[in-house]
Symmetry: C2
Subunit: 271 residues, 2 copies
């Protein structure tokens, strides 16, 4: 195989298998090349990802070492994504009354979801997590994409215990946005004791349901290593969870004046 | 930019934006190359995708023409995926009683979901569909991935009308597996009159809920162009929907003998 084709094939292989650890032997045998040629190729592929702003290659030697593609997003593209999100959110036709906004179109848009998932994957890839966890329904595509980019399984917490989930553990929690006690359930066989999770959700107001997620995972001694949320409401200022990473903030929903104010999480592009 | 880097950059761009139509001008300007060099590059990139079994490039000239990456899956990889799925399904620890199987781990595995989504994307990309539709919850990652590969928005039909969906249209339908009347709802603003849909779901027994999906989409004069289902039960033989594309069949669930029999849809690799 010629070098041109090899570079193309490597980029295709890495982007199809993000966060998968490859032994360099695998590529040397596949393309019948020496380790030194592979190193040159990998260096070039890394340049390509950096130039395109789509991630980078991590190489480590020794036992347990190898080559891995870590998906990412450039500051420029992230900035554009945040501006696009804010503009979409500020469209007053999203107002549903009661402080609710219609956001399904945003959370079900594959390009926007991929951009947000790249933010979470690039920041959470080295936390040693065992799964990406979300609570149904609207955050599932974002959580699934984040899980795929991190090469981790997805766990979906259900609102109701479903028969096809087998035996489940359930908790009740107080949801501030619906102002009532709600329930969430997790399939026992979806998780194992003492593991680590990354939690992804579409929206946070007071943080009640995310606090519930931490609590239900606590039933299995699962530690939440990070929380990523697409949109976080400024109000109430005091959240029930301490640390979380938003893509954008919703500062104000003024139903009388038909105005929504959204703002990017500027700290993301300041890193 | 050198040719090596350009090939890598093109592969990265195409795989990040499946089914997006590019004007050849876009690349000529981006890489500052002549149309003839681009043609050579695209030919090489197409070879890479074909060799890796990950898809192909479609080029068309004239008004509305351009260059597009269509994701795919090689017969070899598809065959392996089907065998893996069958082996996973035949694990008797999945038996939940009442003819139910635990399948969440399969439907929430990013690599398996990507493989199945590639089957649907490669077969349904030229149907002129406007969205990919699914009914919550377990099929959402598969439908979301299929939608992303087809560059189409996802529409999720809910079991209950949620406040944050705005005004909805609901229907009642008979679900054979739960042996009762169930409800499904779709947000009015998620769809438009007279459009076309591809429907994706995780599992079909009698086809009651898929018939419901066709009916609720019919309320908007939306035509279902194709149905893709991950797993289809052999029983009952008579389904409520006529045409559908399964990845694998579940032939038998024998609770007494603790045996599950799964079989690949052989027609997929015979094309």
């Amino acid at each position: 195989m010629k070098k041109n084709n090899r570079i193309g094939a490597l980029v295709d292989e890495f982007t199809s298998n993000p966060c998968r650890l490859y032994d360099s032997k695998y590529f040397c045998e596949k393309y019948d090349i020496a380790k030194s040629s592979l190193s040159e190729d990998i260096k070039l592929v890394n340049e390509v990802f950096k130039e395109n702003g789509t991630g980078h290659i991590e190489s480590s030697s020794g036992v347990g070492g190898g080559i891995k593609y870590i998906p990412g997003i450039s500051a420029k593209r992230l900035n554009r994504l945040q501006e696009e999100l804010c503009a979409m959110l500020e469209d007053s036709s999203r107002l549903l009354g009661g402080g609710f906004l219609y956001t399904s179109d945003i959370m079900f848009d594959g390009r926007i979801v991929d951009g947000m998932a790249r933010v979470f994957a690039s920041r959470f890839h080295d936390l040693g997590a065992n799964y990406v966890v979300t609570i149904e329904t609207k955050g599932i595509p974002l959580a699934a994409r984040t899980a795929a980019l991190l090469n981790l399984p997805l766990v979906v917490i259900r609102r109701e215990a479903m028969y096809a989930e087998g035996s489940t553990v359930s908790i009740n929690y107080f949801s501030g946005s619906s102002d009532r006690i709600q329930k969430m359930s997790i399939a026992k066989r979806a998780v194992s004791q003492g593991s680590k999770a990354i939690v992804i959700d579409d929206f946070m107001r007071g943080g009640g349901s995310l606090k519930g997620v931490i609590e239900i995972l606590g039933e299995f001694d699962i530690k939440v290593e990070a929380i990523g949320v697409a949109m976080v409401s400024r109000e109430p200022e005091k959240k029930k969870v301490a640390e979380y990473l938003p893509i954008v903030y919703i500062d104000e929903i003024d139903e009388e004046r038909h105005v929504i104010l959204a703002r990017k999480n500027a700290s993301l592009t300041e890193d």
